[in-house]
């Protein structure tokens, strides 16, 4: 997985490309959680993300909790249909702030 960090208006954008799975979830966790200490408004751009497994969902959940704890927000945007399906089957669609493609 490749993670690219950008700044957009008042938010920090993390563009994720590839797969968010058992082998790569720790990479996202290491980048995502500290970001909230710099700027509490975080956007995850999943335009080029193809795959999410439960290990990835757990990291998203940690991010969401951290966002709430610091009084910020975490938006997941440009999510492709197959990943939306995963969010739906696990109820994550209601937990996360998701914007589709």
């Amino acid at each position: 997985m490749t993670i690219t960090q950008k700044t957009e208006a008042n938010a920090i954008v993390l563009e994720c490309e590839g797969r968010l799975d058992t082998t790569t979830a720790p990479e996202l966790e290491a980048v995502l959680l500290p970001v909230f200490d710099t700027n509490p408004t975080v956007i995850l751009d999943f335009k080029y993300l193809e795959y999410v497994s439960s290990a990835g969902l757990r990291v998203l959940l940690k991010g969401q909790k951290k966002a709430v704890a610091v009084g910020g927000s975490m938006t997941v945007r440009n999510v492709m249909d197959e990943i939306i399906e995963v969010f739906e089957m696990t109820g994550f669609i209601d937990v996360l702030t998701v914007e589709r493609i």
């Binding site: 799975d21 082998t23 795959y51 497994s53 439960s54 089957m89 696990t90």
Partner: protein, 357 residues
Amino acid sequence: MSIIKVENLEKRFGDNIILHDVSCEIERGDIVSIIGPSGSGKSTFLRAINFLSPPTAGEVYFDGERVDKKNVNEVRRKMSMVFQNFGLFSHLTALQNLCAGPMKLLGKTKEQAEEKAYELLKTVGLTERANHYPHELSGGQKQRVAIARCLAMEPEVILFDEPTSALDPTMVGEVMAVIRNLSKTGLTLLIVTHEMSFAREVSSRVFYMDEGGIYESGAPEEIFSAPQKPKTQEFIYRIRSFNYDVASVDFDSFELLSGIDAFCFSHAVDGALAKKLRLIAEELVINIVVPKFKKCSLTVSFSDKIGRYEVTVAYPGSIENALDTAEDDLAAMMIRGTATQVEHKYEDEINTLKLSL
């Protein structure tokens, strides 16, 4: 008019009939992939078409003209062949390899030949290697030079006999990329290959060879997704199985997942389906079965009876459906959301979970 027409072609070596009564027509611009078991006569067929090893009976027509011993050289210039082992002149540089034929056979001057050669080396990404000798090139580079040399003769048809099978896996992609580009130029290509994903992606038609001929032919979707005849089905489905044994909790999960990716790629499994197979394997093996049972054996296979993919995970222990007792409810939820059917069996102290997609 078809660019190649084969009528009742027979090829025998002594009493051994390899090809029997083969007929087909290939249209200009067709990209034909030729697949089939080893020994089914794929190479023999290509070599018979261009008279490298002439048919023992039957006719081949090129652009309406019957091919025979007299016009075979002229025909071969328009229908050149790329071999598994490159066949470059080892004492000539890449550039010289590309110029030799056009100067000798097409009557080009050195300047004309070189100008064209540079242009072709550029299209295969090898401008920088123009003055290198074959032994100074990687396998993938050699094969790209061989393709460029073929193009230098300005052919109308190119025959490829397993152009990537002598290459390191890391170099297969660069050669396939070159062929993929060629497939968009209007040239007619016949490609013998074992790379099923590639065949499915680039070809307009697929010939499955078996039983001494073209046993079944059709569009790539027809042959790969819905083959009609028994031997084709057996060939397409038999190869669709992947096995991985996990011996301890410290197993290499990266190897498991990339193994599934490679399996899906080489068997042309549709992208969305490939992700589902991977997801089930990842959640079930890595997150549910191995943490609790330490060992398991995973099989991903295609069942032609039900026409669906199945993921089977077998693990030792007392009777227990790991999916029902999973502590990782998120993983279990994802599996249930993805599989269309889940079956648990217990036999000889082995639990087996079979999930269909």
